[in-house]
Each structure stands twice: as structure tokens, then as C-alpha cells.
Symmetry: C2
Subunit: 478 residues, 2 copies
């Protein structure tokens, strides 16, 4: 006889959010530590979430005319140094290859922390005429940044991401691309991950090294801290000039193209955990859940139960749901806890009584609500229940975001609101970095973004008293 497995407990999030987070990452079998500090193993269940994210985004990118490529993982130091701001931002956190085979290299090579320099070096060779533009490329790969601290999904020395790199004949077209890709990310977060976002522009202090302008989407986690979920950068023609990229325009004149890049990484999985999870473990948005519905036969030793459960599983799989049946010898109680920990959006219970009545019971992971489903109409009911879970998760996260976004008109007020409630504090801002630094120093908050959706909260910057230029969001960020 198999011994009953123990259901492992996790720390309550109210007691220790950071420990709760680590517990979920480990107990839901998303990730494991590796032999190299700060580098993690993406386990099958965690990687499957990423595969679903990839499949959706990849389709979106291709529909908007982007093509996938694969660039080298190694960047010669001289290439990295070509754009001044870029190298200053990234060189301090590179991993360097200095030996190849048994020989010391003449020039050391860094493992890509991001690939702007590699794309530019290639663009120089393939772009000659206006007919070659736009170039709209994307790459799925891992990158390396030698961070001092690490946390599963949120901060790895090596992490998986996608990076889009595009080149355009005009500034307007490049800016439109940058904004369109930010909107693509926002759409994806809201409509696939059930994560409401704030769309906006980063301050100069927080923008990407080498960018003229960085757009970002910002999410609020359950502990009311901010997570930057995706960024899109407009480079102007700075990189193109640094890398000697030219083209002959329609008037037969030499011209320099305009560039963008945009990226989204596995840190988003950390965002999913911290947005939707609860004290029973992970809660996955149905559209990226590796298992959307787990079929649990009840009293499975009774005649006909397992056959019927298998029939239901096969029906659902055929209808395109991601479904799994667990007919192991573990108790129903253990199984309930296990699939709650794994965040499966819907549990389907099917016992002898249900079979007699030609029905089953669907249990929602987000709120425990039970839906009795006649087997004749199971597919549309499951479809709707999954959408309800998505909607429920989005509504709860939106409520958290709305309820914990506060307006402040003085530095003292901002400080007090953050100390008491956490969340996002919105204020007016003069645009000076000095005020950003002061907010960081006194209230512990960094600027999150200058939102597209502006409000008029006053005429002056509450930090320095000078005339305000914009409204800005502040928060404590991951």
C-alpha cells in the first residue's frame, strides 16, 4: 500500500509575504535552486506556464508582422562599448568569457545581458534601402545579468525572456511601434493573465540604458508593491548612428533609421504568483494554466467511476481544454490540497452519485464556488467557468489596485500614505531628478511611471514646490 503523502503547509501571506512567495515557488514545483548562486532551474510546471505565455505572445507578435530570429549569446567587448550609455548601464553586471577551449581570448566576450548591440551589428549588414525597412524582429532566449541578490522569477542572474528589436525609416513610425508593443503587453497582461496594469512612461532616471524614452506597464502585487511587467524602448537614431546603420531613402538620400526594443520576461510568472496567489498556494489565470481543469474521481474504487472520469477527461481534451485526471491512490483530501497548491483554475469532481444523475461538480479555485454541470452541457459550462475565474481574478486584482492607489499633495502625505497603506501614490511632479531622489530617500519610493492617463492633482510639485509638469506614480517596487 502506498503511504498517504503529507500535504505540506505554506507560510501565511499575512504573516510573511516573502516566505509565502518562496514557499509557493517551491511547493507548487515551479522552480528549483541550482549549483550557481542566483541561477534557477525552471521545473516542468513553471516552464509550462512560460510555454503558454510564449505561445500567446508569439502569435500576437507574428500577427503584427514580427519575425523570430536567433542572435549569438556572446558579445565582443568592443561591440558592447559602441553605445556609451548602454555600456555604462550594462557592463557592471556582465558575465565575461575569457577562455575558449584552452586558450585565453584576445578579446573577452560577455554573455548577452540584452541584445541591442548584436541586432545593430546585424542590421548594419542587411539594411541598405528604404525597401529593407521596417525590420521587425523578435528573439526568445535567456540573458545573463550578474545581480548581487536574487529571488525566484523576480531576479535571476540568468532568466528567460523575449526581446523585440525593430528598425524604421521614420521617427514617427518607430514611436508608433514602441507604443503598439506596450499596448500589446498591456492587452496580454489584462486579457490573458488577469493582471490590470498602469501604462506610462518612465522618468529619465529609470529609463533603459541607451533609450531616448522607455514605456512601461506597472502592476500592483497582493502586498501592494509594484512590479514592472514589461518595457518598450524608443532609441531614436542613437544606436543606429553608433553602429553606422544607413539606408538610401525614397529620394535617394542617405538616411539613418530609428530603432526600438521591447522585452518581457519570466519575472511575469512572479507577478502572476503575487497577484493571484492565496494561502492555499498558487492561483493560475486559466489562459496560461498548464492544467485548466483537473478531473478527480470520487470513490474511485466503485464500479464505473474511473471509466466515466476517463471518458470525461478525453472529451474535454478533445474539446481543446488542458485537462488532467488524477486517479492515484491518494485521498480526495490530499488531491484537493495538491491541485489547490498548484493553482489549477477548476477542479472537476465526479462520484457515483454524480454519475447516476449524469452530472459533475466544478469547483472554482479563485473563490471555492461550486457549479453543478450536467454532463450533456459540460464543455460550454467549463468554458464559461474558466472565463468566470479569469474575470473574478481580474476584478479582485483591479479592486486591489484601485483601492490602494492614493493621491497626495505633499511629500509628508505621500510618506504617510505609503507607510500606512503601501500601494501606489500619485502626485504631481516638476520633472526634476532631484525630487525623485528625495522621494526615494524620504519615502522609500521610486517613480513607477508617468501614466498616459493624466489627472490634475494640483499646480505644483509637492516635493520642491516648483510648477508641476505631469502627474506621476510612486511605489515600492520589486
Amino acid at each position: 500500500m502506498a503511504k498517504e503523502k503529507k500535504v505540506e503547509q505554506i507560510t501565511d501571506m499575512e504573516q510573511d509575504f516573502a516566505q509565502w512567495y518562496t514557499d509557493v515557488c517551491k511547493k507548487a514545483e515551479l522552480i528549483a535552486y541550482s549549483g550557481v548562486k542566483g541561477v534557477f532551474v525552471y521545473r516542468p510546471y513553471g516552464y509550462a506556464i512560460w510555454e503558454n505565455i510564449q505561445a500567446i505572445l508569439d502569435k500576437m507578435f507574428k500577427q503584427s508582422g514580427h519575425e523570430n530570429v536567433y542572435m549569438p549569446m556572446l558579445i565582443p567587448e568592443s561591440l558592447l562599448q559602441r553605445e556609451k550609455d548602454h555600456v555604462e548601464g550594462f557592463a557592471p553586471e556582465c558575465g565575461w568569457v575569457t577562455i575558449g577551449g584552452s586558450e585565453e581570448l584576445e578579446e573577452r566576450l560577455c554573455i548577452r545581458p540584452t541584445s541591442e548591440t548584436l541586432f545593430c551589428d546585424h542590421f548594419k549588414d542587411i539594411v541598405h534601402s528604404w525597401r529593407d525597412l521596417p525590420v521587425k524582429y523578435n528573439q526568445w532566449c535567456s540573458v545573463l545579468r550578474w545581480e548581487k541578490t536574487s529571488r525566484p522569477f523576480l531576479r535571476h542572474r540568468e532568466f528567460l525572456w523575449q526581446e523585440g528589436h525593430t528598425l524604421h525609416a521614420t521617427k514617427e513610425e518607430a514611436i508608433a511601434e514602441t507604443e503598439a508593443q506596450l499596448e500589446c503587453y498591456a492587452d496580454f497582461c489584462e486579457n490573458y493573465l488577469a493582471m490590470p496594469v498602469i501604462r506610462g512612461v518612465k522618468t529619465d532616471k529609470e529609463k533603459f540604458a541607451g533609450a531616448e524614452r522607455t514605456y512601461a506597464i506597472e502592476c500592483m502585487m497582493h502586498d501592494r508593491k509594484a512590479l514592472q511587467a514589461g518595457t518598450s524602448h524608443y532609441f531614436g537614431d542613437g544606436f543606429a548612428r553608433a553602429f553606422d546603420i544607413h539606408f538610401t531613402d525614397r529620394n535617394n538620400q542617405q538616411a539613418v533609421p530609428f530603432e526600438t526594443s521591447w522585452g518581457l520576461s519570466t519575472r511575469l510568472i512572479g507577478g502572476i504568483i503575487m497577484t493571484h496567489g492565496d494561502n492555499n498556494g498558487l492561483v493560475l489565470p486559466p489562459k496560461v494554466a498548464p492544467i485548466q481543469c483537473v478531473v478527480l474521481p470520487i470513490a474511485q474504487h466503485k464500479p464505473g467511476v474511473l471509466d466515466k472520469a476517463a471518458e470525461v477527461r478525453d472529451r474535454l481534451a478533445k474539446a481543446g481544454f488542458r485537462v488532467k485526471m488524477d486517479d492515484s491512490e491518494q485521498s480526495p483530501g490530499w488531491k484537493f490540497a495538491e491541485y489547490e497548491m498548484k493553482g489549477v483554475p477548476v477542479r472537476l469532481e465526479l462520484g457515483p452519485k454524480d454519475i447516476a444523475e449524469n452530472q459533475c461538480v466544478l469547483v472554482r479555485r479563485d473563490n471555492g464556488e461550486k457549479v453543478v454541470a450536467p454532463l450533456d452541457r459540460l464543455e460550454p459550462i467549463l468554458e464559461k467557468t474558466l472565463q468566470d475565474v479569469h474575470d473574478g481574478l481580474f476584478a479582485r486584482a483591479k479592486k486591489n489596485l484601485d483601492e490602494h492607489t492614493y493621491a497626495a499633495t505633499s511629500l509628508e502625505e505621500a510618506k504617510a500614505l505609503q507607510a500606512e497603506h503601501g500601494g501606489f501614490i500619485k502626485t504631481m511632479w516638476c520633472g526634476d531628478e532631484a525630487c525623485e531622489l528625495r522621494m526615494k530617500e524620504e519615502a522609500g519610493m521610486s517613480s513607477r511611471c508617468i501614466p498616459f492617463q493624466q489627472e490634475h492633482l494640483g499646480d505644483v510639485c509637492p516635493i520642491c514646490g516648483k510648477p508641476a509638469k505631469t502627474m506621476i506614480y510612486w511605489g515600492v517596487a520589486y
Copy 2:
């Protein structure tokens, strides 16, 4: 007016096969050179072939119960050294990271040349009981091997591949897995890439560093050289012992599991080029072709032609074909040459006369054959034509393989056959490495594999005259 683009010529394969190959790689826009020696850029058209290969194999792997994971790209030197044969085989061609951020590392890290050591280090933590077995993992990633020479797709310092790693309770199960995955590769090559293969076992000299036994599939290229297209390794319990992987078996006894790994890489794209290509460029097997059918409107300035062509394109896309329409200003002649160079399996021509007769013309890339297709029945006819291209490619490659596989009963004969015809030479073999070395030295051929399908060609090894153990294939390999 747009200037007519020039159709670029490529070298004839009969004149210089190596130059023909490089020309195709460049002119079909599959690959580009990068700033690091031996490292290449996978361009959109080349990468799209790999994406199609990935999609098919990934589905096969998952159907046979494998799960994807992602392991770190960096291996601490001490970890790589754990298995003696393995480190001897791979350490000489590693790239080493010695600096992280601005600090010299205490222990240098190599960029994975392959990931057995990383998987083992993880298996040790996740396998405890027979219930945890089998573990059947796969990973899609890039690996680095500091090769001295390089050729597009065939030999890169960095290349893309998949590596499967599995762990089993018994030796029998592990061997069955190794063989099943080899058969999976053979099935894929023959039925998706139209590349006939020889299935067999590598000699001890040619096996993977650390393996007890390596299985391989070998293909014959158009120039009659051999290409190893995929390998599957049985490790016994050697790695498990070296990495302290244990489990409690069904009888509650401590036991050591058995391991396998298997890999297939982008070198297969090189194999596709050299198996099917011709003097007009690339010829792609339809099942992995990024564009299966290119729609070319003829006399496109005439009223109704472009609309009808777009309608046909949309219909085919909706039916699931990978289709593209080229309505650019280039001449039909230029377009014909362009899509021949790119190896598009079927060209669809549609002009005013065709439209009047409610038909179009399909032209096969493999043999130039024209098929007149009534538009009413276009989808099934295109489907069949694509299958015909696949079958035609396979038959031609099989003929090349069969006609250039020769039996020899003496070393002199083997030498003469190779010198005169190239191809595979099959002989009996005693099993001694000395004879392998001699064949290499005198006839320039390495052992390709000991095929599953054995024939009796004699009683003695033609090299040393000692009693023969098996029949073996020899060839000059990429």
C-alpha cells in the same frame, strides 16, 4: 520606378559543393556571420525552419510523456568534472566565464556544451522513491563548443538544439527509452524531412563522452558524404553513481537509477540543404517549409488579377497552408528565381487566362512538374501536390543512398570504392578500434554505425582478417 533586382547566381554543386552550400545558406537568407568567429545569426527564414522542426518534435516528445524544463546555461567546473569520461570529452572545447560583474570568480563556470551534469545535479534533489520515476525531461536551448573550424549549420561554436534527459528504475526501461527516441528521430527525418536514414549503434570510439552506448541515425548527403542527424545515448548507472542519485525501490531497498540522453540540432538544417538542394538553390521538404506555397499573380496589372490572387491566398491560409503572395513590382522571372532559391515547395501561378478558366497552375519545386488545378478543388490538389513533393524528395534521396552504398570485402576494395564513388561502404568488422583507426588512416573513412539491419558479407574483418563480429558502415562524414 523600382529598379529590377538582380537574381544572384550561385555556384554549381558539381563544380564546388562546399561553395554551393555556403552560397545557398547566404542567398536563401538562412544565416549570417556574426562578429564572433564560428558563431552565426539565424535569420528569420532559417529560424522559421527550426521553429517548424521544434513544433513537430515537441509534440512527439510530449505525446510520449516528456516534459520541457530549462536548466542553467552555466556549469561550475567542479560539477563538469564529476564524471570522468564526460569531462575528458568536453572540457577541451568549453567556453569559460571567469569574471562576473567586476569580480574574478572563485570557481570558473563553463557555458554548457551539453547538460548531463546539470540534469544529474537536479535529479539528485527530486528523485527519492520509485514513485518519482521515470523522469522524462527535454530542453530546447543553445549550447557552446569551442570548435576550431566552423560551417553554417554544420559546425557552430554556438548552436540550437534539444536535449532529452531521462532517468529510469531499470536498465531495460532505460534502453527501451534510448531506442524509442532514436526511432522518433528516424521517423521525424524520414516522414517530415524526407531524409532516409540508417539506424544503428556507434562504435566505442565514436560514442558520446560518458555513454555506455550511443545510437545514431546517419544520412547521406548529395555529395555522398555522411551526416549524423541525431543521437541517443544510454548511460547505464554511471552518471547516477557519479552524482549520488539514489531511490528507494518497490522493495524498500536503496537503488541507483539508469539514465539516457538524446539530442538533435540545427545541423539538421544543413542536412536538409545538402540532401534536397539543387543548382537553383534550396529545396525544402513541405512539412517544415516556412512557406509551403507562394502565390504569384501573373500580369498583375490586369484588372481582377490581384484581387483573385489575394482571395486564393486567404483561402489557402484559412485551410491551414503556410502561404505567401508576392505582388511586388519585380518581374515574374525574378520571382520564379527568388522562390526557387528559397526552396518553396510549390509555386502557384494565377493570370487572367487562368482566372477566365477558373483554375491556377501549381509548379513543383522538386521536378518542375506543372499541375493545373481547378480553383474549386484547389485545397485537396495542393495538399496532394505537397505530399507528392515530399514523396519525390524522399525517393530521390533514397535512390542516392541505395545506389551509393557499397559492400566491400577487403580494405583495398573499400578504399577504391570510396575513392571512386564516395558514399557508404559496408564491411564486416572484428570490433577492434585498431581496425577503425586503420580504415580512417588508409581510406579516410570513419565508422558511421553498426546498423540494426545486419547483413552477412563474410566471416572475417577485411582489415585485420580476424573473425568478424558485425557488419558496419563507413563513410566520410561532415
